[in-house]
Symmetry: C2
Subunit: 520 residues, 2 copies
């Protein structure tokens, strides 16, 4: 091929990347404002913040959908530079094209209205949740559902309807934003399997637990917040979270946000009477944070420098929270320290009782506090309810009773109020519909990744005994983090585990672990 | 005049306002990022933050200098709507024209480079100050001075040079950004008067103090930081600062930023061994914050909804910090509470000794901790040094020695290191040249405003006795806050005090107060 053509392609590619980086930079300004909104913003600023978010979203949309982007993508789509879809250049062109196609289907007023409404709705949600006042939140939920339905209509226009019902048709375009390649119908199959396998397992555990004392009360003794903070930060540092390039703050709903290179922020919430809530929350968000801190800095602002998908993101958080953080090897190192720090509450507790407490399985009401076994049942409830809301099969006014019915049926318990019911999660107020099922995908991926890491790194447990995690982190960096969006999410995981994605690994791991813990 | 013409003018005006608001909104996004940079941003994020700030500054510049802005301003400049320069419409057109003229003289690359460089320089300043390492900061100062000189050249191009020396020619365009209508030559006259009057007063006080014990040591006992925080917040609330629409945080250099309606944030810094540093710092920044919270919300995003000038801003902070916060009436209410909160350190202190301590006059090294009498001497040192830096009469390499010489000559003391010398203030790292003299203008305005308020409100001291400040706040809202930039700064003050601006009111007030405190 003549050299001139290659140089021309390179120049077009460089321009594409430059434009993508500028759009990302603008998005990263929104990320700072979003973080601030959740952590420190005064309540009175809500309306103004909505306007700020709308403006930035509109500007980003304008840039991302500029006609020049379309020209560049078209020219590069046929180029030799992007011919290899697994090369960095190929992946960037492919993913930017996907983003461009999606964004150009959305009118700017809708983008701005979504940013404005979800910014305000999140503030209303905070108050509604605090006061357990669903009526206050309901009109905002209606507005958000309506806008998300419009978004789905725009993005999904002209999609092939074969083999999908009405709910899947409205849900798929939203789901695809978070988990490229995922499909509603296949997720339903996954959740059916999870329900069939996990419901009897929960039943067996609950039955077995009747004949022996519970231990969770240990975690509900007094754990002064300032010491929880110090202890959690120590663990976060040990895992490899870099506080020179990140922060840990408090918010109503824990989250992680990657603002840019050198700026990854996680949050948690503290309750003196709930050790596990904040501690495992920190491990979870730090898992996300380690992924963000491990993305290739030189690719920042392009898809190759961004997380592969929400499912992959969640695989990282769940792996650190559960596979590492609830393991005996982890606590062999940390429990003696915990006993010194929280002497009043742990001096009479053995490591075995403590391990039983942090691994207690019990149907409970709050998703983020749920154990590993019941967790996916919380997700499937949300997965079904949000499809119904979007499809118009469930009115927002009927959400609380539908929620409570689903909990009764699936977990055998009913929320006393909406704060611990349908108001517990921030997601819907933030417009995150189609987001919840990625949590279960993350669990599936995490189980497979951890299984493979243990095979590749036979001394893993011994390194945990010493409070060292760099071997595991290096493995995850190499297999997952460093690749950004170079491969499709499922491909990335399949390459990492050297096999197909299979939810039975998760189910088998849970059966094995809890079968032994509860002597089933 | 035919109705059609009026309607046409109104439509143009509405479009102008809409555009101005959008630019302000973008500026308010920068304000959030700027606040974050000073308070919570991790160190590793500095480079990325510089890029974010540059992008937002560039976008704001692009909008503010759009050709359509020029067309609208030209059309409205001749309109009947803007004919009355004291009407809100007239003031908005006048001030937006001023801003447009100024901005269109600045090339966008310079605007972006200034935003990027000052963002990075502030991070370097934090480290350099912490480690008292001027050499580390020097190249950044050189870069900032160079950029500000270019800014001055652009803005000042074609100005009338008569009656001004080289330093005034480079300084005036920068000064005018912060204090509309101020001139270097007139400021020099002001500072000459302040030097002539205050230097002997300081001498007399230092002489008188030799024969009696100092009391400042009282404020250097132990004042636990968490209690300082609570006490400061209580005072801030009592003064009228609305925490529903604002925050108080910690930063290396205290500041106030008005992000938008409902979002005004102040900062301070705590030292267990310096009660006065944080407490009067809080009163000072809250003074700024009350002004921001008092601006007319319905005019937000236009000049009529923005503070009149830095000098007027500083008049508010200095009035609350000094005229109110160091008065006997103020402490008659707060001292008993302080004695309860800080019992260990204040149980043996009488209110008279405490008042002597908070009003102790003594040449010291740190501007923000300086007493009212020496304060303006700190300012005149900076005013002279920054003129010399900009004019090229002083090389950045020679700043530390020039600084130390000036302190020896003016205040008779010399910094032990650069952290308490030329590295103490954030301003130059942030590109704020021409900013310092507005502090002294603020002192002049504050003295006159407070004198007038006392005349208008004879029961003021009695309200302070009860810990009530709403009478004074209402007076300031009515005379100053509510007007935004409707009048030029000097005009605003002259209208409020019903007389000409006169620095002798400040000098007389200081002579009166400290003559009596020190029995001169």
């Amino acid at each position: 091929m003549p050299k001139g053509k290659n140089q021309g392609e390179r120049a077009l590619y460089d321009e594409l990347v430059q434009r993508a980086r500028e759009t990302s930079l603008l998005g990263s300004c929104s990320a700072v404002l979003g973080w601030d909104e959740q952590t420190y913003m005064p309540e009175g600023a809500a309306a103004h913040r909505g306007e700020q978010m709308a403006l930035l979203a509109g500007l980003a949309h304008e840039r991302a959908t500029a006609p020049r982007m379309g020209e560049l993508l078209e020219a590069l789509g046929e180029s030799s530079l992007a011919a290899d879809g697994d090369s960095i250049e190929g992946a960037n062109v492919r993913q930017l094209k996907r983003d461009y196609d999606r964004r150009t289907k959305l009118p700017r007023p809708l983008v701005e209205e979504l940013a404005r409404t979800t910014s305000l709705a999140q503030q209303e949600w905070i108050v509604a949740r605090r006061e357990s006042d669903y009526k206050r939140f309901q009109p905002w939920l209606e507005r958000v559902v309506d806008l998300k339905r419009k978004e789905s209509e725009c993005v999904g226009a002209g999609q092939d309807a074969r083999g999908r019902d009405a709910a899947a048709l409205v849900y798929d375009p939203l789901l695809d934003e978070y988990e490229q390649g995922a499909e509603t119908t296949r997720l339903r199959t996954l959740f059916t399997a999870l329900r069939q396998e996990l419901t009897p397992l929960v039943g067996e555990i609950v039955e077995a637990a009747k004949n022996r004392p519970g231990h969770a009360g240990i975690l509900e003794r007094s754990f002064p917040v300032d010491r929880q903070k110090t202890f959690g930060e120590a663990a976060a540092s040990a895992l490899g979270f870099d506080f020179q390039r990140g922060r840990l703050d408090v918010s109503a709903h824990p989250f992680c946000t990657g603002i840019g290179p050198g700026d990854v922020r996680v949050t948690t919430r503290y309750d003196e009477r709930q050790f596990g809530d904040a501690f495992f929350g920190v491990l979870h968000e730090v898992g996300h944070g380690l992924y963000e801190q491990g993305l290739p800095v030189e690719q920042y602002g392009t898809p190759a420098g961004e997380a592969a998908s929400l499912g992959v993101h969640e695989s990282q958080s769940r792996l650190w929270e559960n596979a590492v953080g609830r393991s005996p090897a982890f606590w062999r190192y940390w429990f003696p320290m915990a006993r010194r720090v929280f002497h009043e509450s742990l001096h009479d507790v053995s490591i075995d009782r403590f391990l039983a407490a942090v691994n207690q399985v019990e149907p409970t009401l709050i998703r983020v506090q749920a154990d590993e076994v019941t967790y996916n049942l919380h997700i499937l409830i949300r997965f079904e309810l949000e499809q119904a809301l979007l499809a118009g099969d469930l009115a927002a006014a009927d959400l609380p009773s539908a929620w409570n019915d689903a909990y009764r049926e699936t977990l055998g318990i009913v929320p006393k109020n909406d704060a611990e019911g349908c108001l517990q999660d921030v997601h819907w107020s933030a417009g995150l519909f189609g987001y919840f099922p990625t949590y279960s995908l993350g669990n599936v991926y995490a189980a497979q990744l951890f299984q493979k890491a243990r095979r590749d790194l036979p001394a893993l447990d011994e390194s945990f005994d010493r409070g060292e995690y760099h071997e595991l982190l290096a493995w995850l960096r190499d297999k997952v983090h460093i690749h950004g969006q170079r491969y499709a999410p499922a491909t990335l995981i399949e390459r990492a585990v050297e096999g197909p994605i299979d939810s039975h690994v998760l189910i088998a791991a849970l059966r094995h672990k809890y079968g032994s813990l509860y002597n089933l």
